[in-house]
Point group: C2
Chain length 397, copies 2
């Protein structure tokens, strides 16, 4: 009875599984791979040889396994040779990096970005960065593709940024513009910043091993990258996770939001809300947020009151999300990391008083492990995803 | 190179796939199955023979295929012979049914349920119903198991109802109590009512073919069954979807909720909110909701104002969920069906003014196709799921 996947499909799946394992877990002995992947020793050997032949993995001499028998060879991702370009368009800066397989940042460039500039204006500097980075690439390297993180609503099909409220963007064809500028006919994968940070922290950060995760990213705006049942939640068109536009303050008391609505969560917990509550509306950016946190630390009562107020609203919205998603981990990223650290007691207190006990009892509140690298590592993950799905196809291309 | 699933595993997967196909799509010709499952004609024949031998499917004479060549035999689920018991504990009634493979309700019992009675008090009447239903089962039938739908937070691992706010339940071991009373050592699968209704409408109702669905179920309380990326979202412990306890009305204006918090969405759109706004707080249940809708139809201005007010809050919360999930379909079930039909313009208007255009542009607002059968069909799906995962194992047991 013929049915199911062919030998060739099975081989491709297994090649992808082995490569994914060392990409996520780093150098791994053949013995460990045998156990982790449920394949026998000779299969692991054959798969490793195939991946090594195209330069995706290397094998080190032996390493003690702590068990009887032959020492086992160690398989490691060729981070030096296999890479993706990772770009990040943030509210105040542009970044580009070359990220090696295994999630190692090999090289990086940063420039300030004036607020209010359009997507098209980011394409030039980012392309120049990639050309610079490219000059340092060793001969015989393999490029898995390019990914870019951006604050905005990204159409999954083509990387069109439909709306970037904090950027003032409407319908910016970022994916196609970057692909054209870079001359990459594989396209450039565009991801919302919270989505790619969630991907990065889930792969190798604060949410490793968690199947239900909310990664909150905040600066001027607020969004969430959400993982349910171990998979990234995208929604129908790719726009899921716009938790910053959950209205939490209806009625005349709610402030106008950049999205056109009123009383959105980001109007209560975003950068502007904090600096305004602290009486410092003349400054902007992460420095402004850190200045409020610092002033509160030093006893400034207005700053302390601002931290309490924002912390309470932060806990309020998290309680809603905990009731809706029943996550095991919530990660506070961007400037929400700093706000959370300063106001953790208020956040937890509001969460406990508002969320259903069953929904919140096992939830862990966390700060990111990867810090500001998450955008770049996550953007690279978008590109590596294609390589991991079919390792030999990408290297042949 | 040995790897991947064994022949036996592939056969089991294919048996499950064929059975699932006719379970969801009804009688299907062998020719259509060949195309739909991507298997060849002789494999479909062999799989059908295996399933027919244990009485899970039957084959009808021939049906015209509209194509040249031999007419194709039609494979149909043995709805008369393969069934699950489906139970439903609702705010005002208890129901039990025998549901045939393919989702056909074969037999059904209903009793009123006084509000305020505990889970333990439902076990006796439901068990009696099942015994009654069992007497009509033809000899040689196959029982796939039992499922029960309940308004409350259900722990996935063991069917413990951690909280049923509208029932006044705390930590009721419903799954184990029912399994013991029914003498079913396979256990009884317990599902939240909105989750099982979502399952039913996704399988054979208003959300067929949709990968991103929110099914809102309302009576006194409000919850959602959520499907993201084609799969049911459960959350970490099974408690995801408690959208009725998203706080939408913070501050002193928010009403106390049965969950202990204030200003929860269900305090603004549940049955109590509607009848109170219409000045009819002396009545309860679906009849009370229908009476308000009817009065509004007949020109009662207080009832009309109540419908507008509740419709506005309904649209408000749906807008939040649309921003968070970017669903393609939202289904209004329970008494929210009646409220939505009476207030559709207000719901849509609030949704359009509040949700982000990219998130809402393709969303369809729908009423259930299965009506009150959804609880029973969905509860049966919980039990059929085991059969579909491994058809021969269940019939052998």
């Amino acid at each position: 009875m013929r049915a199911g996947p062919s030998q060739e499909e099975i081989r491709r799946q297994n090649l992808g599984a082995l490569l994914r394992y060392v990409h996520l877990h780093g150098p791994t002995s053949r013995a460990e791979l045998t156990t982790a992947l449920g394949l026998n020793r000779s299969t692991i050997g054959a798969l490793t040889a195939d991946l090594a032949a195209v330069g995706l993995v290397g094998e080190d001499g032996s390493r003690e396994t702590g068990r009887a028998g032959r020492p086992s060879l160690v398989v490691r991702p060729r981070s030096d040779r296999v890479y993706a370009y990772a770009l990040s368009i943030e509210v105040d800066r542009l970044r580009a990096a070359r990220v090696g397989l295994g999630g190692r940042i090999l090289d990086e460039r940063t420039a300030e970005r004036p607020r209010g500039t359009l997507a098209a204006e980011a394409v030039g500097p980012l392309t120049a960065f990639v050309k610079e980075l490219h000059q340092a690439v060793p001969a015989g390297s393999v490029c898995a593709g390019s990914g870019v993180a951006v604050c905005g609503l990204v159409r999954r099909d083509d990387g069109m940024v439909r709306l970037g409220p904090t950027m003032g963007w409407v319908d910016e064809p970022l994916g196609t513009a970057l692909a054209e500028a870079l001359g990459d006919d594989r396209g450039v994968l565009v991801g919302n910043v919270s989505d790619v940070c969630a991907l990065a922290e889930h792969a190798r950060g604060a949410a490793v091993g968690c199947d239900n995760v909310i990664y909150l990213y905040g600066d001027v705006g607020v969004g969430a990258g959400i993982i349910t049942g171990g998979r990234r939640m995208t929604g129908h068109g790719g726009y899921g996770g716009e938790v910053g536009h959950m209205v939490v303050h209806p009625g005349p008391g709610g402030r106008p939001c950049l999205c056109g609505s009123r009383g959105c969560w980001e109007t209560e917990i975003g950068e502007h809300a904090l600096v305004r509550a602290a009486g410092r509306a003349d400054t902007v950016g992460r420095e402004a947020v850190l200045a409020v946190v610092d002033a509160a630390d030093r006893g400034d009562s207005m700053a302390q009151s601002a931290i309490r107020q924002i912390g309470d609203w932060l806990g309020f919205g998290v309680a809603n999300l905990v009731n809706i998603f029943n996550p095991e981990t919530v990660v506070f990223g961007g400037t929400l990391r700093d706000v959370y650290l300063a106001a953790a007691a208020h956040v937890r207190s509001r969460l406990n008083s508002t969320a259903l006990p069953a929904c919140r009892e096992h939830v862990r509140l966390r700060t990111p492990k990867l810090g500001d690298d998450a955008q770049l590592i996550g953007a690279a993950e978008l590109a590596f995803e294609q390589l991991l799905a079919d390792p030999l196809d990408v290297t042949a291309g």
